[in-house]
């Protein structure tokens, strides 16, 4: 347990970019980009930004998340979810998938304090 030396921080304060956008017509992809390597590492921890937490936040099944990876060159965590209907179908609210990220803002992640 490292809880005593961790500070809980919200994803909105850890990441420099949090965005969502279509990836083709059947998926919405999310990019969370970090400038601070310490924050990027914390977000990759088991209490960090995980597929399980994302599924819980969006109330979707884990199998709806078709890809969840860390992309080192951009210090980013990227995940992609399958849409229920293709983009732009009647009843679909966001044709670009561009306003799907805000629920990520308040995810709390423990960040180890610098030694």
């Amino acid at each position: 347990m490292t809880a005593n030396t961790d500070t809980k921080m919200k994803l909105r304060d850890l990441a420099s970019t949090i965005r969502s956008k279509n990836a083709g017509v059947d998926h919405i992809t999310f990019d969370v980009i970090f400038r601070n390597p310490r924050y990027f590492e914390a977000a990759q921890g088991s209490d960090g930004l995980t597929a399980e937490r994302v599924a819980t936040v969006y109330r979707i099944q884990p199998e709806d998340i078709v890809s969840f990876v860390a992309f080192e060159p951009a210090q980013a965590i990227k995940f992609t979810i399958r849409r229920r209907r293709p983009s732009g179908s009647p009843g679909e609210p966001d044709v670009f998938g561009s306003q799907m990220y805000p629920p990520l803002f308040d995810i709390e992640i423990p960040v180890p304090n610098p030694a």
Binding site: T17, K21, N22, A23, G24, V25, D26, H27, T29, D31, I33, R35, V57, Y58, R59, I60, V66, S67, V69, F71, P73, A74, Q75, A76, K78, T80, R82, R84, R85, P86, S87, G88, S89, P90, G91, E92, P93, D94, V95, F96, Q99, M100, P103
Partner: protein, 453 residues
């Protein structure tokens, strides 16, 4: 070889002329721009309508044609008129003609490469027992799916574009094309390494999106050599940094490591980004994995029905507390007349509740309404215009008449922005997102050569 990328979606918003002029002054070897995107939804492809205003398309084509002719360099415009249909290619060719004639430029050889695919051709492929595989978890193609599809385009790779230049073209207008392929075509033709050629396309496809700070429609120049790529923005306020370029490499795709084109996949797992100076970044380490068989991605859209909208609002806190009951009451009234929604060949009715989950729909985690008012867009899709109008009217007006246990008013549980049914564009759906194996990556595409001016 240095390629100039002035816009990520030609015509969607006009190109910024300042950095475009700086780009020309830097003497690039070609100008390349894509004009398409699936992001605009299935309507423009299915109905074969341009999504961007003709004036803006003309604005961008004018800049590119005059710039390319002034420098004596080739130009490629991909995915003509947003969707890359044959109509789009023909319209873009006519716009090029208009510029050449208006500006009295010397004659120019143009190649128009068409990418619409006749559904009967695909029916034949299926009949031959070939699997047209569904992408991203979709089921494989069936004749029934083709019956529901109004229009199909194939997404071309670099091969037909290279052929067009080999045949003497100076300006190439293409139907639907993959972003990375239109940029890869000239470097591949000149013999540069395949991984770098496609990687250049991947990074240049959205022009200034690979630079920081964020700006749209500003010009970027990408320089390809045998050892790597160098990216440089033409707007004095932008920088291509390792972080900005890497951030763009993963933009709008399912996973950040691969990009598929007809002959294989770009593999970015070992990619490296390094700053040359404050404004330029070098990219190395791309790989390309050849596919055993070439394949062409297909995009198709089919009509679901006519569509009508009504806009209304609710302010009454009692009505708001019973909102789901109010919507259910209105839905029941529609069902009494037309039967249940969502039946084959029937109608669909949607309530977009802004102030609750109008933006995110079923992905919205917040369930409680905390605002004093909400807005509702009622959306009806039905086989006929009259029926769509009637369902939108019934589905909205009955929110007015909903019978609630504690209601204090009479016939007025909702407000109407105007008591008016708005006729919307027909509803379409992406029916096809599939991939067909081919013997030759050129086989689905047709090229017409002409001289303009």
């Amino acid at each position: 070889m240095r390629l100039m990328s002035p816009t990520g979606h030609l015509g969607f918003t006009p190109i910024e002329p300042g950095s475009f002029e700086s780009g020309l002054a830097a003497k690039p070897d070609a100008i390349v721009a894509d004009s398409g995107s699936c992001d605009i939804g299935p309507y423009p492809l299915g109905a074969d309508h341009a999504h961007s205003p003709r004036e803006w398309q003309m604005h961008d084509i004018d800049l590119i044609v005059r710039g390319a002719r002034e420098l004596g360099i080739p130009a490629i415009i991909g995915s003509a008129s947003d969707t890359g249909t044959d109509r789009g290619v023909d319209e873009y060719v006519e716009m090029v003609r208009e510029v050449i004639e208006r500006e009295k430029l010397s004659p120019v050889r143009v190649a128009a490469i068409y990418s619409e695919v006749d559904p009967d051709v695909l029916r034949g492929v299926l009949k031959d027992g070939v699997t047209i595989a569904g992408l991203n978890g979709r089921k494989d193609m069936t004749p029934e799916l083709l019956d529901r599809t109004a229009r199909v385009v194939g997404v071309m790779g670099a091969e037909p574009i290279i052929d067009a230049f080999d045949a003497g073209a100076e300006i190439v207008i293409t139907g639907r094309s993959s972003d990375s392929s239109i940029f890869a075509a000239l470097p591949l033709r000149a013999g540069y390494p395949k991984p770098l050629a496609y990687c250049l396309g991947k990074l240049l496809e959205c022009a200034s999106f690979c630079a920081e700070p964020y700006m749209g429609k500003e010009t970027i120049i990408g320089d390809i050599s045998d050892d790597g790529l160098i990216l440089e923005p033409m707007h004095p306020g932008q920088r291509c940094t390792p972080a900005s370029v890497a951030g763009h490499a993963m933009y709008e795709r399912i996973d950040p490591f691969t990009e598929t084109v007809p002959t294989g996949s770009l593999d970015l797992r070992d990619i490296r980004y390094e700053a040359i100076d404050e404004r330029r970044t070098r990219v190395t380490g791309a790989n390309f994995i050849e596919a055993p068989t070439p394949s062409i991605k297909l995009e198709g859209s089919g009509k679901l029905g006519e569509r009508a909208l009504a806009i209304m609002g609710i302010r009454d806190p009692i009505t708001l507390s019973y909102l789901d009951d109010v919507i259910a009451f209105a839905r029941r009234k529609v069902e009494d007349r037309f039967g249940p929604a969502g039946q084959p060949g029937g109608y669909e009715l949607f309530y977009h509740v802004f102030g609750r989950n109008g933006v995110m729909g079923y992905l919205e985690p917040v369930t409680e309404i905390t605002s004093h008012e909400i807005g509702i867009v009622v959306e009806a899709v039905a086989p006929s215009r009259a029926m769509a109008d009637e369902i939108a009217a019934m589905g909205s007006r009955n929110m007015f008449y909903a019978r609630l246990p504690e209601v204090k008013g009479t016939a007025g549980g909702a407000s109407f922005f105007s008591d008016e049914i708005l006729q919307a564009r027909p509803g379409y759906e992406w029916t096809i997102n599939h991939v067909v194996p081919v013997n030759d990556p050129r086989s689905l595409f047709r090229t017409r050569h002409l001289t303009l001016g």
